[in-house]
């Protein structure tokens, strides 16, 4: 089943490519690697704000991370020409906006990792670091950046 068929089967519509912003760009390709900028959590355009350990449950953080992974795929689709050209998700960096005592950043990050595995299969198996940070731009509960290998 193609990547696009899997997305359809999961009921996921790729977002349009992120509009270019002033000071940086959504993704840069160098050789056959694409470095995707950190994406924050949005739902219907609004930032999903709050801290894990205070304002959101781990399950809510995991949902937010899954949503970010969909947005990252949208950016990757635009940067690669097509998502079919992605050979491998190489690495995720998952930043969880949390209180100093929240020790489940890895469970939040699983929301993104599992989505990538569902959509891309073996090509979605990636290295990863996840940890808790003091804050994220605009108060987003999670931020994720990604490196992918394309053909």
């Amino acid at each position: 089943m193609s990547v696009h068929a899997k997305l359809a089967a999961l009921g996921i519509a790729l977002p349009r490519a992120t509009a270019p912003v002033a000071a940086f760009v959504p993704a840069v390709r160098t050789g056959n690697l694409i470095f995707v900028s950190g994406h924050i959590a949005r739902r219907d355009g609004a930032v999903v704000a709050g801290k894990l350990g205070a304002d959101l449950t781990t399950a809510q953080g995991r949902d937010a991370a899954r949503g970010i992974a969909v947005d990252l795929l949208g950016t990757l689709h635009a940067a690669a020409g097509d998502l079919d050209r992605v050979e491998r998700i190489v690495k995720l960096l998952v930043l969880v906006n949390c209180t100093p005592d929240f020790t489940e950043a890895h469970l939040v990050a699983n929301g993104a990792s599992e989505l990538l595995n569902e959509v891309l299969g073996p090509a979605g198996a990636h290295a990863r670091s996840a940890f808790g940070v003091a804050q994220v731009p605009l108060g987003s509960c999670v931020e994720i950046e990604l490196v992918a290998q394309v053909r």
Copy 2:
């Protein structure tokens, strides 16, 4: 206009290359990528210390980030042989030392991103992640690492 002419037009003198330190090096080249170590904020040799959200305004943090970008260019100049060999700034990781409620890490990071765009033009357009951290070595208000593609 060459990179060096742009630096001169902006009144920016490249710092001398960072002295090698004991446990790690300022930059490593692998293939045509250069990974530059995290640089902290210094002015006249002294660390610009403090937390965004408590000790420094967003504008002060932005100035510090701009200063770090100049230092990163100095390190990149030494690592690449010459700044003219930089084909693309690939990615920045911008760490803002801040209180748990400071949500403007992206505005602080713009100080670095805009400097790179001013000096390098289209080659300065990069991917980026910015977020708030609990602390930075020596209490620096900001730390930035960089990946660049060189010829």
Copy 3:
């Protein structure tokens, strides 16, 4: 002296490769780069938990970072086929779980950097970023990810 001879001289046994986990993998190779997932601090299988600046001294954090570097070498050995194929440690990202006033993340990170230099010699000289974070999965005192170049 070979890498394995140096490890033996230092009395270090490489750990067995990390067991694959559900949502992500310990390392991904792309071209001649290997991206290794963030590793947390463990001793005899148990997580070394706590915050620098409150629960652990800088020396204890440094020891934990050294232990993580050994584990990273174990993962790298498995991912590269053999540690002898590592041409260069390219970059470390060192995340120190700490209080908001702990400014010695670089000294903690030296525990990992020095171990890599001892074992790999010039091939161990790497770029690095180190900073303090709000938390780490399972409360680990340190987390480290690594990029290496292999032949």
